[in-house]
Symmetry: C2
Subunit: 144 residues, 2 copies
């Protein structure tokens, strides 16, 4: 589990409101995790969240971290980003945008929605509806 310093948090009442608006009861653990996630637009793995929330003392269990991140993603509070075959990243920015993924460093950065545009759209298979479009530009470090 990574050990990362907790930076400035978001105001508690603000976060509590966000949760309530999505129909999530704001328990202590959920609020703590939400404060970390929404301190800024960022991409965190479950393990990283675990490390930040439990920096020093143990306050939230592994199961709760996983449950909570899954719940948040389900309710549309955060977005899952699947680019690394070994783990899920949770993106605190749910505005439409895409990602660069540096295969060498594991770094994940944003591509603003308007710099990439689809000008045509495939027909969806029978009986299905689109749930989202993910565009990932994979990067390598130049070695010149």
């Amino acid at each position: 589990m990574e050990n990362i310093l907790k930076t400035q948090a978001v105001a508690k009442p603000e976060v509590i409101n966000m949760l309530k608006q999505k129909g999530i009861s704001p328990t202590q653990q959920r609020v703590e995790i939400a404060q970390i996630l929404f301190s800024k637009p960022q991409h965190l793995s479950a393990d990283q969240v675990m490390g930040i929330v439990n920096n020093g003392e143990q306050r939230v269990s592994k199961a709760t971290v996983y449950n909570t991140l899954g719940l948040f993603a389900n309710k549309g509070l955060v977005r899952e980003v699947i680019v690394d075959p070994t783990k899920i990243f949770y993106d605190s920015n749910i505005q439409s945008h895409h990602h660069f993924y540096n295969v060498d460093s594991g770094e994940l950065t944003d591509i603003h929605a308007h710099t990439v545009q689809l000008n045509s759209y495939p027909e969806l298979p029978e009986g299905t509806e689109a749930d989202g479009v993910d565009i990932v530009v994979r990067l390598r470090n130049k070695k010149d």
Copy 2:
């Protein structure tokens, strides 16, 4: 490990040539796996390949299946598709194209390259070069 029937294979000499052209020495195990992969355009997980190649008797070890698929991907013989957080799919079609991923069924299907087009392109971060663009349209089953 899944147990799937092996369908019609590709001719051995043909596959051996493909491997040689990419600088891969065509060992028995590699040829067997390549014959399965290239029998048609498809998306298979390591576990599925394992199931097909070893249908009935055990002929290729787990380590070799993983090594071989990794090697093939590295040499550009197959393409890794990362859409399912629990496993990698290997796509035997390396032509430029994209994917539908049905979140409910786990089904992965192709989107022809020409039905989706990027009409602008983001600036790449300093010191990096693009390694590929993956577009994934996530689907859910309609429940009406």
